[in-house]
């Protein structure tokens, strides 16, 4: 592989993250044990709480460590509804929310209640008036900070303020899976619960956290003992916790320079990709989107075929919609934004990390140009 531009799937670990994780492979002692061997694991768990709490500025005991953002998201939504004993909840989110948030909302309302979707605009943004309209009287509202597929970064603080007026009793979840460690989220931007994953910090995707504002009632999803203040039972994955802790420290120290560098690289490759005829950038412009995030569609080309053709040329990217990959479907995200079928089917997602090189960007631009030309040559009626 000559270029790895699929940081949406996972970041290659930095030396610090790799070393931290390696140190804990083979350590079998539970941090809950009473003897001396447990001291190191217990200190590691506490350092993970501390590193992730630093991202919101909340206290260490607000952090519930999880197996990743998907578990944290499910815990936030299902745990807060259960915590208030609601059997028919009204839940508001937007159609570009993570697939697991939409699935959890449907699951929670299977026996009654309502799921309401806020309107999104043509770049994937949500306006305060739109979320307020959807959230009026709601019990739970999910605000997606950075949209994974088209990269739109929302003004989450303004959206949450609008929700507080429209639905004063709602629990507000900030889904920061794509932004935690890359963009500041002081005080959770006003949310009650903040979902984080290791990937956006440069750590393992199989580590994550739910940060819980004090006073927010939450039932555990995985019941067990005293682990994670009773909110998440089960043994800790010590190497993963070491990885996310090291990554969070690096991310905090590097912010905002890391994001600026990733934006600059994304801007550079975007210019190259848009030089290919009939190629459009989906989502907002380079400075209003997730750092390092580029999604483009090539008319007359299927996104999955394009990703495979680029892989054959040594460049790793994703089809535009990871969640419908393999299903042969158009991207529901792009459809919700009003994109036509050609655009919705022809997207590829290119995601850059802090270690991406100019040579990788050049290789990816060449592979994209060659792949689009080759696929169009095989497709009758393609531009």
């Amino acid at each position: 592989m000559t270029a790895y531009l699929d940081h949406a799937s996972g970041w290659p670990p930095s030396d610090a993250v790799r070393d931290a994780m390696a140190r804990w492979i083979g350590v079998a002692t539970s941090p809950m044990a009473l003897h001396d061997h447990a001291r190191g694991p217990a200190e590691l768990v506490e350092s993970a709480h501390s590193a992730l709490a630093d991202l919101t500025g909340w206290a260490n005991d607000t952090v519930v460590l999880t197996s990743g953002a998907t578990e944290a998201r499910n815990l936030a939504m299902k745990g807060s509804i259960a915590g208030r004993g609601l059997s028919t909840p009204v839940i508001a989110l937007d159609p570009l929310a993570h697939a697991s948030a939409i699935a959890a909302a449907r699951s929670l309302t299977r026996d009654g209640g309502q799921v309401r979707m806020a309107d999104v605009d043509e770049v994937g943004d949500v306006m305060p008036a739109a979320i307020a309209a959807a959230a009026e009287g709601a019990d739970l509202v999910v605000i997606t900070h950075g949209q994974a597929e088209v990269g739109c970064v929302r003004d989450a603080a303004a959206l949450i303020a609008a929700v507080r007026t429209a639905a004063p009793h709602a629990v507000v979840v900030l889904d920061a899976e794509e932004t935690a460690g890359l963009l500041p989220i002081p005080d959770g931007l006003g949310a009650d619960l903040v979902v984080m994953g290791g990937r956006s910090m440069g750590g393992p995707a199989w580590a994550g956290a739910l940060c819980v504002r004090p006073g927010t009632l939450l039932h555990p999803l995985i019941e067990g003992g005293l682990e994670e203040y009773g909110k998440r039972g089960g043994a800790h994955d010590l190497p993963a916790l070491a990885g996310i802790t090291a990554a969070a420290h690096e991310a905090c120290a590097a912010m905002p320079a890391r994001a600026d560098a990733m934006r600059a690289m994304a801007g550079r490759i975007t210019d190259g990709l848009l030089g290919v005829p009939q190629v459009v950038l989906n989502g907002p412009g380079p400075h209003e989107r997730l750092p390092g995030h580029v999604q483009v569609s090539a008319r007359g080309v299927e996104g999955e075929a394009l990703a495979l053709a680029m892989a054959a040329r040594g460049v790793a990217v994703s089809p535009g919609s990871a969640c419908t990959f393999g299903a042969g479907k158009s991207s529901p995200v792009l459809e919700a934004m009003g994109a036509d079928d050609d655009i919705a089917r022809g997207a590829v997602l290119i995601t850059i990390g802090p270690g991406t090189t100019d040579a990788e960007l050049d290789a990816a631009t060449r592979a994209f140009e060659e792949s689009v030309a080759a696929l169009r040559a095989m497709a009758p009626g393609a531009p």
């Binding site: 915590g83 927010t216 555990p220 019941e223 005293l226």
Partner: protein
Amino acid sequence: MTPTRTIDALGTWCPVPVGLLRRAAATAAEGDVIEVLADDPLAAVDIPAWCHSAGHEVLMLQQEGRVITTRVRISPRR
């Protein structure tokens, strides 16, 4: 009396609520008031029993709906 800290043990089953209280008490200062919210009916038995054995004072124990609220004043170590 305003609690120094509140433990949300809702959704957990005994002995988790009393375990969380015991852990919080270990780092609390004398005179601190710890509030525990729980919905396992056994918490109404377990928490006062543990407070009695540990020497802490139960200031309040009330149930509203399914939520049992206990407030405990931390006493000097015995």
